[in-house]
Symmetry: C2
Subunit: 309 residues, 2 copies
DNA sequence: CATAAGCATCAGATATGCTGATGCTTCATG
DNA sequence: CATGAAGCATCAGCATATCTGATGCTTATG
């Protein structure tokens, strides 16, 4: 049986050309075929739609669309226009200028580098819609990646199995204290011995942090825990205690707190951007990763300077 | 070079099936192909769009659309829906239930049988738009047919070269007089000798009419001519004279005039419906012709009765 | 480690599609 | 009225595309 889905775009193109140029031979010239080929194509088209599309008056006269041919041509042209439009869309998609991007993120990224990244990205590709999923649970970020809910996500530490990633920056742990509480510059971990501490609730980064302190023989005494970075800083300012936090979780410009490197240095947390391994990324995601990489490299450089100051 | 117009609908169907069923093999089953064929079809699709549409994780896992594949599938489904819709439209067109119909006509048809015809036609095919072109110039009707402005037209007398036609009815010439002016029934043409006459301006039908009168030895004396049938009747009613007119140009029900057959009978004018020869008619036009034929046959029968009465 | 599920690839058969030649039809022209 | 020219259909032959069936590779599962 012959169904409308057997319709071929080439045949519509031929129909268009013949209708436009009046004769099979002229259309063939334009299309780069022989007259015979066009004749056969139109015949095939007429077979699939089960109707004559041209009246052939015979002799040296132009062919003429039948009423059926007219409606087919009108609709066919519309179809071809849509196909061409699809082609353009696909081109733009391939270049990363069209599409939809889902990104998993967490607070310290969202509040520091992400605005810059998104700003640059939107500047380059304003027609890519971006959807951000922020969570403070490490596992949720992984789950979202694996389920496809997010295409890329910022992750801390080692990436889970089944994910690929690109390293973005190493975020150093710094001490947050009140101005004047410690002499400017590096603070020996031993000097924290009697300080009450503010920290985050148990997460990969907090564990890393505490492990680093204990490795230097300091058993921290936590008097308050919050996963909200602003709350941690506020508690320090209020005199509840000091905090050891990743630099990106702090507000270096805030004059009401003072930041210090520690001695010995606690190995910083690794921040990467990750995606499901084996999954082809959208060009938009590739571009996003590139931009992210650049922005993080830059801020990581300036961040180092900031800590020195 | 490969362009988007090389896209094949079959490939979109395959894409859809694989995306829906998860594996090439299952899709192949549904489509009635082998797994190998589907694999090659998807490969061909990927070649024409120059991008992978599926991630094949390998092993006994389902394939998964790439982001590119997702947008292609979305648009492809839209395209297929449109193609299917086109199929339905074409079906309806083939059945005569969709399209556009242009009809050339003239006053006596427009005011008598045409309303009935159009009414019946619209009842059967309400989605066919009808456009009527009314003119009192015989040639204009022919020209419109030849130029394609109208697809079918009512014509009087012999059809011009290049037209085909179907005979509809023979419209007899009758005498229009005031009631009581002549005894009921047939009026001998000789009795018109001293009557002033009302007629139409020179057209094929008026010529036929005058020729008929002269053939019976009557040289008519026209005191007024109009191509508007209502005006002719009105002049008769006003006592300006009598008129010999085709029956369809009269108003048999009007008690203010009386109709008479003539003796000898003047051969009636032939009314046909015509179209350009060699041109395939739209199914709607075919249906219109059929309906017209039926309606005219019926009215021609009742018209004969009317003249008798 | 063996098995099963799944896709790619290959070779071969078949179908499709194009070319070039030829024939038929019709109009125009001498 | 005969002839030439323009135009489409058709045919045979060749090239290409496409499908099948077999086979091999990969990976998850038990």
């Amino acid at each position: 049986m012959t169904t409308i889905r057997d319709l071929e775009l080439r045949h519509l193109v031929a129909l268009d050309a013949v209708a436009t140029h009046g004769t099979f031979a002229r259309a063939a010239d334009v299309l780069g075929y022989t007259q015979s080929a066009v004749s056969q194509q139109i015949a095939a088209l007429e077979r699939t739609v089960d109707a004559k599309v041209f009246d052939r008056p015979g002799g040296p006269r132009s062919v003429e669309l039948t009423p059926f041919g007219e409606v087919l041509l009108e609709r066919g042209r519309d179809l071809l226009r849509r196909v061409d439009a699809l082609g353009h869309e696909l081109d733009r998609f391939r270049e990363g200028h069209l599409g939809h991007l889902t990104v998993g993120t967490f607070q310290s990224i969202s509040s520091t580098v992400l605005p810059v990244i998104v700003g640059r990205f939107r500047e380059m590709s304003p027609d890519v819609s971006i959807q951000l999923f922020e969570t403070d649970a490490d596992e949720a970020l992984n789950d979202q990646l694996m389920s496809g809910e997010t295409e890329v996500a910022f992750v801390v530490g080692d990436v889970a199995e089944g994910l690929e990633s690109r390293h973005l920056l190493t975020d150093p742990f710094v001490l947050i204290a009140r101005p004047g509480q410690f002499p400017a510059g590096v603070v020996p971990i031993a000097d924290l011995a009697r300080e009450p501490m503010i920290g985050q609730r148990e997460n990969s980064c907090q564990l890393l942090n505490e492990a680093g302190l204990r490795a230097s023989g300091h058993e921290p005494n936590y008097v308050f825990r919050s996963n909200d970075n602003g709350t941690v800083s506020a508690m320090v300012r209020a005199g509840m205690g000091v905090a050891v936090m990743p630099l990106l979780c702090t507000e270096p410009e805030d004059p009401r707190t003072s930041l210090h490197d520690l001695d010995p240095v606690i190995p910083g947390r690794n921040v990467s951007i990750a995606w499901r391994s084996g999954r082809t990324l959208s060009p938009a995601a590739e571009a996003f990763i590139d931009i992210t990489s650049e922005v993080c490299a830059a801020t990581s450089a300036t961040a180092d300077l900031a800590t020195v100051g």
